[in-house]
């Protein structure tokens, strides 16, 4: 048992090499993209996009910690706030569509084309 050492969160974060964060968040981001690509349900697509945003957040926090620069974390708050606003509008749109066509399958929405 090692004595529990008081570690600051940035230090904790820095215990993992930066590249790992990069890889993980990129993986998360790509998973989000794949989700957008493969799903037809509007809500799940939307969730995948949120996943992409969170990948960005993770990355920003990692960079922020490594650089000891608070701007990155500020940005994360902005992203979260804006994402919330986006969710509000996005869900409203999805609801509106559901009211009209009784479905939220984006595959059905292809009246506008060519």
């Amino acid at each position: 048992m090692q004595p529990t050492q008081q570690v600051s969160i940035p230090e904790l974060i820095q215990q993992v090499p930066l590249n790992y964060y990069l890889i993980v968040s990129t993986a998360l981001f790509v998973i989000g993209i794949i989700g957008v690509l493969t799903r037809r349900n509007a809500i799940i697509i939307f969730m995948s996009i949120e996943l992409m945003l969170n990948a960005v957040n993770l990355l920003l926090i990692a960079f922020s910690s490594y650089r000891s620069d608070s701007a990155g974390q500020v940005f994360v708050f902005f992203i979260m706030a804006v994402a919330a606003a986006e969710v509000a509008v996005g869900l409203a749109i999805i609801v509106m569509i559901y009211r009209n066509i009784r479905s939220i399958d984006v595959g059905l929405l292809n009246k506008l084309k060519w």
Binding site: L59, F63, E86, I94, L109, N110, K111, L112
Partner: protein, 463 residues
């Protein structure tokens, strides 16, 4: 930076005004608000100021872009008189959203920190998502809203990833900070930066509907109510190009050789897809969507050939394009509403048949705006193209010029289909009526187009 504050406040005021029974005051109030914002914009004229802890920066270029955006918004609002008659419409909300979106646009124009860019883009976009779906009972409008929203959010994600990478590479969100990083590390900039540049550019190119990130444009323009389409295709595009210009000309100019080739390829692709696809359209509105893609292509030439001329070219082109586009949509709105067919409003080319005879003024306005969009001399559009072409020539990129010339020939083809319909085809005999104020706005826009076409030197020296 008063306009940002003013417009936000005015937006809220408008929402409250929505509680009033009478909707009559809304339109003039909005116009006054926009004019007030416009007036305050010029308070910073001639100087460079940093606002809000170095988050925003105003200079003459930003003021000019803001002016174009506000002018476009003014015209769009002025052409929105039909809301008063429409039972379904909730004009107070619409106007408020328009004002809010303008705040976003101004932020995109004058950001100094990438956070502001992101916030501006989102404010503008979220408002647009709502406006795209404002015709709640129309499946077309719904579809447009969803498509715009999903794809817009997706593009935002990409852009954010790019910003994050840039941050990782440079450790700052400040535009000029990135610039100094690029200059100080001229020979060893990291891969993260390059990747960040690419992803950030892609996110923004999506907003200005450059190919191959343009796919949302035709569908969304088509489904969105015409007035908001006009707003989208002018304000969003102008703000988008202002933002692109700022990042490219300030932050990334040091690595010009890295991105210009990619941008040049995308420019050509945009020109090709926008112009060629427009040829086959039967819907005027959809054609305008492709036309907006093609104009994004011309504007991109200015960025690809980034140089001393670019600023002026972008400003002039945006102004010319906005004037012409809004006049065109203005005419379309009147005509499509009075020429209903089985699908509701008729937004096809044949709606314009014989228009020049039934209402010579509308015909003339439309003709001038089409000529301007096609870049025919004596209109502002010609000088816009001319200036864009000179930027390319200044950089010596003549092949892109030749390609653009070929594509503008294609462009003439589809713009002239409207003129042909209006002037040379027979249409319904009943006259098309236009409200007086509406008419003045159209006349003013047309005269401005022609004046700029005759005396392009008027705008000279402003930037």
């Amino acid at each position: 930076m008063l306009p940002i504050i003013l417009l936000s406040v005015f937006g809220i005021v408008l929402l409250f005004m929505g509680f009033l029974k009478s909707k009559v005051l809304l339109l003039p109030a909005t116009l006054v608000f926009i004019l007030a914002a416009l007036a305050t914009t010029f308070m910073d004229w001639g100087k460079t100021y940093l606002y809000f802890q170095n988050m925003l920066l105003t200079n003459n270029l930003a003021i000019l872009f803001t002016t174009i955006v506000l002018l476009s918004a003014f015209m769009v609002v002025a052409l929105s008189n039909s809301f008063i008659e429409d039972e379904q419409a909730q004009p107070a909300e619409y106007y408020a959203l328009l004002l809010f979106s303008l705040v976003g646009a101004i932020m995109m124009i004058s950001f100094e920190n990438l956070i502001m860019l992101f916030v501006g883009v989102e404010i503008l976009s979220v408002a647009m998502y709502v406006l795209a779906g404002s015709d709640k009972h129309s499946p077309r409008s719904n579809e447009a809203a969803l498509k715009y929203f999903l794809m817009g959010a997706f593009a935002t994600g990409i852009m954010l990833f790019g910003i994050a990478l840039l941050y990782g590479a440079t450790g700052t969100f400040v535009v000029s900070g990135i610039k100094s990083y690029v200059y100080t590390n001229a020979y060893g900039v990291s891969l993260l930066l390059y990747m960040g540049i690419i992803l950030l550019l892609i996110g923004m190119l999506f907003k200005v509907s450059a190919a191959p990130f343009h796919f949302w444009t035709p569908d969304v323009y088509d489904g969105t109510p015409g007035l908001f389409t006009a707003f989208m295709s002018t304000v969003v595009k102008t703000a988008g190009f202002a933002a692109l210009f700022r990042v490219l000309s300030v932050s990334f100019v040091g690595v010009y050789s890295f991105w210009w080739g990619t941008l040049a390829a995308l420019t050509c692709l945009t020109l090709l897809i926008g112009n060629v696809t427009a040829v086959y359209q039967t819907s005027f509105k959809r054609m305008m969507a492709y036309s907006s893609i093609s104009h994004a292509g011309y504007l991109l030439i200015g960025l690809t050939a980034l140089g001393t001329q670019t600023k002026q070219a972008l400003v002039f082109y945006s102004l010319a394009y906005s004037l012409a586009t809004i006049s065109a949509f203005g005419v379309l709105l009147v005509v499509s509403r009075q020429r209903q067919d089985t699908n509701g409003v008729n937004e096809n080319f044949d709606a314009f048949n014989g228009l020049a005879r039934q209402n010579p003024l509308l015909g003339f306005v439309m003709a001038v705006s089409m000529l301007s969009l096609a870049g025919i001399p004596l209109t502002a559009g010609f000088w816009g193209k001319f200036m864009i072409f000179t930027t390319a020539a200044d950089k010596g990129i003549y092949w892109i010029l030749v390609f653009a010339v070929l594509m503008s020939t294609v462009g003439i083809y589809y713009y002239f289909r409207v003129i042909i319909a209006m002037y040379f085809r027979e249409g319904a005999a009943e006259p098309v009526k236009v409200a007086p104020f509406y008419r003045y706005v159209l006349i003013a826009a047309t005269i401005l187009t022609l004046v700029l076409g005759l005396a392009p030197g008027l705008l000279e020296g402003l930037v």
